[in-house]
């Protein structure tokens, strides 16, 4: 099965079986502005839910990207390292950050679905 979930920290996670792809949301990229640098974790690193998994820097400032759930990094998107503007252009597609092998898929259940996330963003003003 495949499911798209969101965090209150503006990451998205798309589950596909026991793996999941992670990125930042369109709202996040619009708030950051021009992305000029991305730092991705090494393959094989274990990331913990809610802890730093990657770094994204805009023209103004550096921000941490948190892991929506725990798991092992099995792929990273080198294309956004070479061309960080892809994160602005297509945050939910070509601008993905990394792929995890899930430690516990049940962690996904506590995250927001798209409707809940859009409502959450609207409430941010």
């Amino acid at each position: 099965m495949s499911a798209l979930r969101f965090t209150k920290d503006h990451e998205w996670i798309r589950q596909d079986g026991d793996t999941a792809v992670i990125g930042i949301t369109d709202y996040a990229q619009s708030q950051l502005g021009d992305v000029v640098y991305v730092e991705l974790p090494e393959l094989g690193r274990r990331v913990e839910q809610g802890k730093e998994a990657a770094v994204v820097e805009s023209a103004k400032a550096a921000s941490e990207v948190y892991a929506p759930i725990s798991g092992e990094v099995i792929a990273v998107n080198g294309a956004i390292v070479d061309d960080p503007a892809k994160v602005n252009a297509d945050p939910m597609g070509e601008g993905w950050f990394l792929k995890l092998k899930l430690a516990d898929a049940r962690q996904l259940d506590a995250l927001m679905d798209e409707a809940a996330y859009l409502k959450f963003v609207a409430e941010q003003g």
Binding site: H10, A28, Q31, V36, Y37, E39, E57, S58, A59, K60
Partner: protein, 375 residues
Amino acid sequence: MTLTSAIDDSARLRRTPLHALHVERGARMVGFAGYEMPVQYPSGIIAEHLHTRAQAGLFDVSHMGQVRIVGAAADLALEALVPGDLRALAPGRMRYTLLLGDSGGILDDLMVTRVAGGLALVVNAARKDADLAHLQQRLDRDVVVEPQFERALLALQGPAAAAVLSRFAPGVERMVFMSAAETTLAGKPCFVTRSGYTGEDGFEMSLAPEDAVAVAERLLAEPEVAPIGLGARDTLRLEAGLCLYGHDIDETTNPVEAGLFWTIGKRRREEGGFPGAATILAGLATGPNRRRVGIRPEGRAPAREGTAITDPAGSPIGRVTSGGFGPSVGGPIAMGYVGAATANEGTVLDLVVRDVPRPARIVPLPFVATRYYRG
């Protein structure tokens, strides 16, 4: 990820006369030096930066402090507080100088122009209240200090600035860098100087608050002109190697280590008579302990303000005071202070970003050649 929200307490922030114009044009407003200011418009910092270098950008810098010092001896009076040679300043000429504390630290950096009846000053927004108190307290009694904090200040910067502005005020294209004139723009009286904070040719225009919107709208209607926010203003000035007060210079830095010794006029070096003169001139003889330098990281990671600088063996040698991405450079750039022994161009060092040392090199400033109009 962590996102900083726009404005926490907008009720307590002041607004410039152009506030509604910024909002109408979709600016993201942020708090800066007590003002609600546009950090960027929808096109974004990089596009705004590149537009300014290619054509012309219009900046609202009305948050900066405009002050007049009125009196026949205004130049002599202000020389007691700054190291610039103001007596040598011809009518209609402008100079960059420094308000110095008694031990030679920098209280603010400012522009001084000789105008009819005295001097016109432009000081930093975050310092203007402190500067005004300092001037009122310390200046000789026979001059009058007149704050004009309500006045608007617009900057038009970029290679097309002169062509654009001359459509409204013919003759401004012949003004040289660091000169001033009284003129009329779109029917509004305007005090214009050929100066700026981007490294580009350009002008700054002081206007009555009620005239600012009309002038800004007329300039923005020209095809070469786009509105530019504080985000691009910062990347432009960093590429131009210009100091940002409170970051690259402050009360703990002196003009010699900051690379601003050139602001101390020859006569002033010989005569002294400015705050901290003994310390500064003595320090000049022995050389500063540290120096402000340009730094170019080898990789792509920006090194932000506060980043530790070490030598290749890992020993601390300094700290980054301004750093980020330079859109015209196409990569990260930084300024900072390092020990004088390690401040030579070409010196290899490490920038410790997120606990990882990353190689970088000392390079000459500016990062992008300046294009001031000198006639």
